[in-house]
């Protein structure tokens, strides 16, 4: 029900993002979605990619501060209102979304998010029969 997300610590200095992206390029790993949360001095780059385990070890080798974590990735029909209906399922249970982003995958909208209560969120997903995208599907991104 969850997929691997890479979180990368970036200093706000020119060249730091290039260094990270080059590691993906050199290892032929496809970036499927990415987002940056930034403050005045540093940012956290979050990435969904085709081979998170390999990306993680290559980034570590390159001396990059990186963490591998599990996030929810819910598959939605690509039409208006889907995100609102889905998030309401969680807010009804008083579960907060810490961060969220989305991307299109094979014509479907994928909603990636982390909540403040992983166990309860898991139950909501099971009960509501929400469909999650899997790491295996993402690996076959082509």
């Amino acid at each position: 029900m969850t997929i691997n997300q890479l979180s990368i610590f970036l200093e706000n200095r020119s060249g730091t993002l290039t260094k990270v992206l080059d590691i993906f390029k050199e290892n032929n790993i496809q970036i499927i979605a990415s987002t940056i949360a930034d403050t005045a001095e540093y940012g956290i780059l979050r990435i969904i990619c085709s081979d998170p385990q390999k990306a993680y070890s290559e980034l570590e080798k390159g001396g990059i501060a990186v963490a591998l974590s599990d996030v929810f990735a819910i598959e939605l029909d690509n039409k208006p209102g889907q995100a609102a209906d889905t998030i309401k399922l969680f807010s009804n249970k008083d579960i907060s979304i810490i961060y969220m982003y989305s991307f299109l995958f094979h014509g479907k909208g994928i909603l990636v998010f982390r909540t403040d209560n992983t166990d309860e969120a898991r139950e909501v997903i099971l009960k509501s029969k929400l469909h999650s995208v899997t790491g295996k599907e993402l690996a076959d991104w082509e």
């Binding site: 997300q5 979180s7 990368i8 610590f9 970036l10 200093e11 730091t16 949360a37 930034d38 403050t39 001095e41 540093y42 940012g43 956290i44 979050r46 001396g63 990059i64 501060a65 990186v66 963490a67 974590s69 810490i98 982390r114």
Partner: protein, 437 residues
């Protein structure tokens, strides 16, 4: 084999009274010997004193101070008390500001130096069965040859690996069964990092047992971390090139203060502003008078190093005074907004954070006529994907630093490796970019 716990039992176990009367006799001799240098003859006549005025250690304060500037101004041989033909070696410190300083040695000076280092190494448990590896630079840097001759005097098999090439150092440690290692603290950490990267387990794959660390100020937490990482006991070494180098003072196995060999040196702790002695046990500048040196004796030499004397008896049975861990140098002191700050205070706080590595960099700047201090710290790895937790960490570091140093620094978290120490150089901790008016 059964050995004495002391390298030189009669000297190391002398009582305070015996030490004092030996010092008085040595002081009378060294003061007369100093009259062989024009530098001290002039100083004595300026003060209107003669060697006859010095009868015991109680008269020490009648003597003039000697400073690093005196050594520079009289470069290279102005303070020598013997003809150059009687000298067999010189060591010189780098002269980043003005002339370098030169220290001359007769053969007896070198023998005495080796004995002082041998006592230190024996004190921390080195025996002839040990294998000693020295990762200090050889040549003019005194920790190379200084430890070399001392370790040979103990009778250890010595590996003069010298500085740098960490992979080769680790190979020597493994292949030659090194049990005693000398390294500056930041380099000991570096050796551990490289061992980890190469899959070498210091406990399983090496026989390392004792580590001698010196030359760089470091905190108790850093020592503990190095001890745990490498699976060794780490002992503090204090050396100063103007005295000779390593061997001046060293920790015993109690790890509570560094014994200074008082048959070699008379110790004073003074207030660097007033030049008056500080009350016993208080922090001040270390001032040393050499008692044995032939080629270049120094009277009341101002080391600029800050320390205090630890009162009371040491359980190891040595009555030679103990200095506290060196607190940095009086000229390393940062003055920011009228507050005195020592880099070691910052280091102590940062080591309290598990999320951070051991390297840090303090930058002082003048922004819009306001002096600011920035502390850059390295993140060991990313422990969270939530930037609010990073901000909370940054805030907590700032708060604890302010509690310690009384000014609020700007704290910047940077990725690991950004501030890493190079193989040979001492880690740079402070950059002062303020204009000096």
């Amino acid at each position: 084999m059964d050995y004495s716990p002391y390298f030189n039992p009669p000297i190391e176990t002398m009582s305070r009274e015996e030490i004092r009367s030996l010092q008085s006799a040595s002081l009378r001799r060294v003061v007369r010997h100093c009259m062989n240098s024009e530098f001290y003859r002039k100083k004595f006549s300026e003060l209107g004193i003669t060697p006859d005025d010095i009868k015991s250690v109680d008269d020490l304060r009648k003597l003039p101070f000697t400073s690093k500037e005196d050594l520079r101004e009289n470069y290279p041989f102005g303070l020598s008390c013997v003809p150059l033909k009687d000298c067999v070696r010189l060591h010189s410190s780098s002269g980043t500001t003005g002339n370098p300083t030169v220290v001359l040695h007769t053969q007896k000076d070198l023998d005495d130096w080796a004995e002082a280092v041998a006592r230190c190494l024996w004190m921390v448990g080195s025996r002839p069965e040990d294998v000693f590896q020295n990762s200090a630079g050889y040549g003019m840097f005194t920790a190379g040859l200084g430890f070399q001759y001392g370790a040979e005097k103990v009778g250890m098999l010595t590996v003069p690996a010298a500085a740098g090439n960490t992979t080769r150092q680790i190979k020597f440690i493994k292949d030659f069964g090194t049990t005693v290692l000398h390294a500056i603290p930041s380099y000991a950490s570096r050796i551990y990092e490289v061992m980890k990267a190469e899959g070498v387990d210091p406990v399983r794959d090496t026989k390392l047992r004792v580590l001698c660390i010196g030359a760089e100020p470091h905190s108790e937490q850093q020592r503990k971390r190095i001890e745990e990482d490498l699976g060794v006991k780490a002992y503090n070494s204090y050396g100063i090139s103007e005295m000779m180098g390593p061997g001046v003072a060293f920790e015993c196995q109690c790890q509570n203060g560094l014994h200074i060999w008082e048959d070699y040196f008379i110790v004073e702790i003074i207030n660097p502003d007033t030049l008056e002695p500080v009350p016993e046990g208080e922090l001040g500048e270390l001032v040393i008078t050499t008692l044995k040196r032939e080629a270049m004796p120094l009277l009341r030499y101002r080391t600029r190093d800050l320390t205090r004397i630890i009162p009371g008896e040491c359980p190891c049975g040595r009555h030679h005074l103990r200095l506290s861990r060196l607190q940095g140098r009086s000229d390393d002191m940062i003055i920011l907004k009228g507050v005195n700050i020592f880099p070691i205070q910052v280091e102590k706080i940062l080591l309290g954070f598990e999320e951070l590595g051991t390297d840090f960099l303090i930058t002082l700047e003048n922004k819009e006529s306001n002096d600011t201090m920035t502390v850059e710290v390295e993140l060991k790895g990313l422990f969270t994907d939530d930037y609010r937790k990073l901000q909370a960490l940054q805030k907590e570091i700032t708060r604890r630093l302010k509690d310690e140093i009384l000014v609020t620094p700007e704290v910047r978290i940077v990725p690991k490796g950004t501030l890493a120490a190079s193989d040979e150089k001492k880690a740079v901790r402070v950059r002062d970019l303020r204009k000096n008016y």
